[in-house]
Symmetry: C2
Subunit: 149 residues, 2 copies
DNA sequence: AATGATAATGAAAATCATTCTCAATTAGGA
DNA sequence: TCCTAATTGAGAATGATTTTCATTATCATT
């Protein structure tokens, strides 16, 4: 076999859910992009390959995949949820959201050490079992700082 | 004068926006509660004191106050935004969200030192001017860990 | 390959938080 | 007090997400 199945394929089988064409296509879209796509955007991209797909399927699939940890659901405050593929490492990257232009940047993971420490402290202090975390820094990006307002 | 005006009063005057009764009542609610209230919840509480207040006023006020930094708008993933009064210190507390029961806990601020460091690194690495930040740890709370699934 | 049980899908309607519109009211300065 | 702009309330509108339900696909067994 030339191409190995992607890691999410295995996870889905483990979970006992089916790796249908629609789910595959949605995951392919998430896998190829670097952006944080909304359900609607994903819908329109998948539609090019599979014009019959329904809106509900996209939402259901994204929810399902979020529930089992294959996908991460993010809210950047623009009124719609956005989705990204969960990567095994680097699960705790920081999102920088520019309040001015709305662009979202991601930290490469340089702060992971420190985040891990915080996570450990929190876990033991509150007896809280951390499964994943989200860190948003809101402010003004380089460009918008120059550009005036 | 027996009671000094609260800090948000000054801020509002500075900003040139009016300290109307409706706005006062909404702020009072936020000031008294320890919970993270939704717009709807705030609406119903204010209604007890001022039955005529409109839904739109609550939303408008919360948006306005969020914009000038008196209020913080949070999304815990339960489909509605939630609001809290911005406290001057402790602005960067960590929210712990239990995926099982939905309860939200807050860290007292013990990690503030480390968070500040991360913030500083990010700022200089990306030339991003951090104005405020949100940190969510999702997982399972003490109670739900015992209680089974 | 046909069958049956179950999971998944598509289309449309329903939901529900939030935003908009606009006429009426209010507040604060001239 | 009068004027003007800001604020408000009611209800309609919006728009993302969910639900419903009839249909279809999947997979393990015959």
């Amino acid at each position: 076999m030339r191409y190995a199945k992607p890691w999410w394929y295995k996870r889905m089988i483990e979970e006992g859910i089916k790796f249908t064409l629609q789910r595959k296509l949605i995951l392919d879209v998430l896998n190829r992009t670097k952006k944080h796509l909304s359900a609607e955007e994903i819908y329109f991209i998948v539609r090019k390959f599979y014009p019959n797909i329904g809106f509900a399927t996209v939402y259901r699939t994204l929810d399902l995949l979020t529930k089992i940890g294959i996908v991460i659901k993010l809210n950047f405050g623009d009124g719609r949820m956005r989705y990204e593929l969960a990567e095994k490492e680097n699960a705790s990257h920081i999102h920088l959201i520019c309040k001015n232009c709305g662009k979202v940047f991601e930290d490469g993971g340089d702060e992971n050490e420190k985040i891990k420490e915080i996570e450990k402290n929190i876990s033991s202090r509150y007896n809280f079992k951390v499964e994943n975390l989200k860190i948003f820094f809101m402010g003004k990006c380089e460009n918008c700082q120059k550009g005036g307002d």
